[in-house]
Symmetry: C2
Subunit: 304 residues, 2 copies
């Protein structure tokens, strides 16, 4: 700890992201049993996926939002790490043969390819368990805040409007011709909910008012959709090699995507609009939201 | 609610178990989205497994222990239901082709047979999420108790000493010649931890003292092992038809079991000793522990 002394005054996004990554990786290392501890295969599999080079976008949102409201890194670290653990559990399970059946993730073998399917199922299961345990036992926060965070994060990860619900809707929709509203419903749950709760968690820890929480939610709703839209664009435009996963897979498997429905140009325009809306929502806040705005710009312009 | 008016004074075990089952099924129905709510396939799959005729042993322990310490049914219901949700998630995932590959559970098709593998993975995932959400949002308990319960239950369900760790150790051990100590280590984690935490959760909600918690823990440690030992015995002696799962499977798949290592007679003797030890641990308590003792007797003499 102690790496980030004053995130609030920071306006260099790449420096901010580096510091968040160091901070959250330290927290994750503390929260997950060592790779040599029994059952070693399980802990190795967890660490394989957790430290596979993720960009830590969700922890960055927890920190960017939290520091805008004056929360300390000590108050934010465990929650940021817990949300990343839930995100990673969902990636491990999404990659399974019965789900998206992916062999590569961030350029490395997926958990079930590197280990085995049973171990990957258990690694995902227990990452979720450890995430809620971490928040429940986080002494930097009051018991009241901890229960609120667990309730919010579980709603975002669960059903009927959370991540797992979105994954089920996505599976159910394969081969179907979806409308843009149906696609949005899927993405709002599947990826949007956890992104929204990341920003909300930071604001909650920073004791934001209800009006402020509403503004953060509006920002994050647009950001979550922006994330999915640019992901769909990248999937088409990037080559397999540079992306580190099998490019073009979503179209070949007939998954509903924005470019498939709107075309590439209109999808790029939509991304611009979402980024603008996200930033406009922040103008209601009398806070330094520089980093939150730069995160939206980064997602709009990302190349991977 | 209101079904159980005075569990404390109750000494008829089968009546107690019936009332617990009604109470916990009502709570589960409240905590899980309706089968018709979207994504309907996911919610149907959850309900298929959750209401498949489980005996609700863990909720019974929460209620038996909780009422011994004066907790009300209102304080105990959600936690009892949440622990059953975690137990059910583990059954759904254990039955998957990549794990134990079971087609039948309690005489009915397993979740992935009735629905599909992806849905079963997601149903298990989200049952865990909903369990922690339920406790985090349980207004019958203080925020302080809720965080303690979530921490304890997550430890029991997680790693390095919880349920998922035990399942991994069990998978790792297939085909190996284990010692009795190694078998015990597996069972203590795989099934024992969640049984222990069920009894502990009730006592915690009933504000038991540290000495009382220790006595409850000793009782539940022996009970948890008793549960596994009699399960191993049943697996050999019961026919597939009456058991509702594929009998003899553990021996044919070379899983380590007590009867395999000790023989049937010595295993039956061990079961008697564990039941005695469990009941002796209760004698330290100045409480009415009739139902807790009868639960140990029931597990010792169970036929399924």
């Amino acid at each position: 700890m102690g790496i980030i002394d004053n995130l609030t005054a920071m306006d260099d996004l790449s420096e901010f992201l580096n510091l968040v990554k160091q901070n959250v990786d330290t927290a994750l290392d503390r929260l997950i049993p060592g790779a040599e501890e029994e059952p070693a295969r399980l802990h190795s599999a967890i660490r394989w996926s957790l430290f596979a080079g993720g960009k830590r976008i969700r922890p960055a949102l927890v920190f960017a939002s939290g520091t805008a409201f004056g929360a300390s890194q000590k108050e934010l670290s465990t929650t940021a790490a817990a949300i990343e653990m839930i995100h990673t559990y969902s990636l491990i399970h999404d990659d399974l043969p019965a789900m998206d059946d992916d062999d590569l993730r961030r350029g490395k073998p997926t958990c079930h390819k590197q280990f085995d399917e049973a171990t990957a199922i258990l690694a995902g299961d227990v990452l979720q368990t450890l995430a809620f345990k971490a928040i429940a036992e986080d002494e930097a926060l009051s018991a009241d805040i901890r229960t609120k965070l667990i309730g919010l994060i579980a709603s975002a990860a669960g059903t009927p409007n959370g991540m797992v619900a979105g994954q089920q809707l996505d599976l159910d929709a394969e081969g179907e011709n979806l409308t843009i509203d149906e696609i949005e419903r899927i993405h709002r749950s599947k990826t949007g909910a956890l992104i929204i709760v990341s920003a909300m968690a930071g604001a909650l820890i920073g004791k934001a008012s209800n009006d402020e929480l509403t503004a953060v939610e509006q920002y994050a709703q647009n950001l979550g959709l922006l994330f999915q839209v640019t992901d769909d664009l990248l999937d088409i435009t990037a080559a397999t090699e540079s992306l580190g996963k099998t490019a073009g897979k979503d179209i070949s498997s007939e998954k509903a995507t924005y470019p498939k429905l709107l075309g590439i140009d209109a999808t790029a325009k939509l991304a611009n609009e979402l980024s603008d809306k996200a930033c406009r929502a922040l103008s209601a806040l009398q806070r330094d939201t520089t980093i939150l705005k730069k995160l939206a710009e980064m997602l709009l312009n990302r190349k991977r």
